[in-house]
Subunit: 287 residues, 2 copies
């Protein structure tokens, strides 16, 4: 299987190429989430999922053995902004009917990353051969949903306009530990004019299940970011004069906590190769 | 009638002394808006209205002859952030049943300011002798309601903590003109930590009828404010290192537009001497 080169730390779907070639490659039959998953399951779509099933929620995946799942669930509960849990499977059950009646978590993502003792060891196109009776699958919301809401409202996003990956940074903010899971909060940054910053706070506040409102606005140094032009992961995005940087809790945070926890076994999605769900982005709005 | 000295431009209730002595002076029988209006109507309460009927909306008043009322209504419609219209009377009718069944706009405020040709000429304790069959009363929301919501949520307000008037500034932003009414947007400023700034945007967004979300965040120069430490009206409030100034559309804006329009006759409340209504602050929340 050929999977495009990506940063191993970039779990967020924002890592995907936004060129939209996935749509062009696969065609209009991928407009619904069911069609997208069916094509992925059949091996007809092997690329990233950007642009598939427009308007539907895509999720981050984390699969852990049951022995670690309770702690990870607690970590998500204690850190809802970086770890917004959309669904969790029963142990050994590869289905997640809340996200799609036909959904099989072993086959329905175009790429999986396998970790042993916290280190990535291989990327594979499905995990039927790896599946165990004690595996629990977690699907977490990702920033794509709120970015779509911002674009729909006419609030521009520079990293998308310039075809870049969103810049991400480690902060000096500790997440709330749970069992072996711990680490610093990772944030993504998007710059806005003051009026758009206010609008972006309003819009993303409506979507707590996909990171919600920003955690910080303005001076990066106040959250331990020394150089805004040198992201930890992702691409530099210019903050122009008169603009304010907004910082959102990022889906890389739980992956970072998994790497710190070094569980014997873990499977995530390949960055940008997300789970396409039947949930509409708009259905996540709380008001 | 003795009315405390206040800046003639400070129409916003924020101009009131926040010491709470009004409550001490009048006692617990002013806890409901009906009791407060009854005491004011009977001349038993002659001070500002800060602290009266906690939890209930207080409003800015503007009374104009019918010949100017249509344009002023249009001005409010076109500028809802500085001019959030809560109620408008029928011409010649001093009642506003939407704001209180017993309400009489001629007697229920502790102080009225009379303008002729756009200039203040006297402050009076009631306007029964001045009332005309062509008068139309406008009641506009004021920042007290959203400030209460911020305090209830644990978001501190420095001008209140330090017993000062909120600082207000003329901006370089034109309001949308309507007939003879026009002028620059006036804003009030409150400083916050970044996290509280995000929370303040969320909370005030819920209250569009009392100025709603801020119109600006961050650099004052971007909206034509040259020196944050020299407010146009009100008291200097320090913006500490690491804090962001937030700017809200201010109820002084319509009074400024009235002064620019120079209608032959106009009556407003005396700054801080507001109309106490039966509306609960919480009832204005849109979500």
């Amino acid at each position: 299987m050929a999977i495009q080169a990506v940063s191993p730390d970039t779990a967020d779907r924002s890592g995907a190429d936004r060129s939209g070639d996935a749509i062009g490659r696969v065609g209009a039959q991928m407009a619904s989430p069911q069609e997208a998953r069916r094509a992925i399951r059949a091996g007809l779509h092997r690329g990233h999922t950007a642009g598939l099933a427009p308007g539907y929620v895509q999720g981050n995946l984390c699969i852990l053995p049951a022995a670690d799942a309770a702690d990870f669930l607690l970590y998500c509960q204690r850190n809802p902004k970086p770890c917004p849990l959309l669904a969790m499977s029963d142990a050994g059950d590869p289905r997640l009917p809340a996200l799609g009646a036909d959904l099989d978590i072993r086959t329905d993502l175009p790429g999986y990353r396998v970790f042993r003792d916290g280190e990535p060891v291989e990327d594979v196109p499905d995990i039927r051969a790896l599946w165990r009776d004690d595996f629990v699958a977690f699907v977490l919301g990702c920033s794509f949903s709120f970015e779509q809401a911002l674009l729909d409202a006419g609030v521009p996003l520079r990293h998308i306009a310039t075809g870049r990956n969103v810049p991400m940074y480690q902060t000096n903010i500790d997440t709330a530990p749970a069992g072996k899971f711990h680490g610093k909060l990772v944030v993504s940054m998007r710059p806005f004019s003051p009026a758009d910053a206010i609008r972006a706070i309003q819009i993303t506040s409506r979507f707590p299940n996909v990171h919600g409102a920003p955690v910080h606005i303005g001076d990066p140094a106040l959250i331990g970011i020394e150089d805004i032009d040198t992201p930890w992961v992702g691409d530099r995005t210019e903050v122009k004069p008169g603009e304010l940087p907004l910082f959102w809790a990022c889906g890389v945070t739980p992956q970072s906590a998994v790497r710190a926890a070094r569980p014997p076994f873990c499977i995530t999605h390949v960055p940008g190769y997300m789970l396409v769900t039947d949930l509409r982005n708009a259905s996540l709005a709380t008001f």
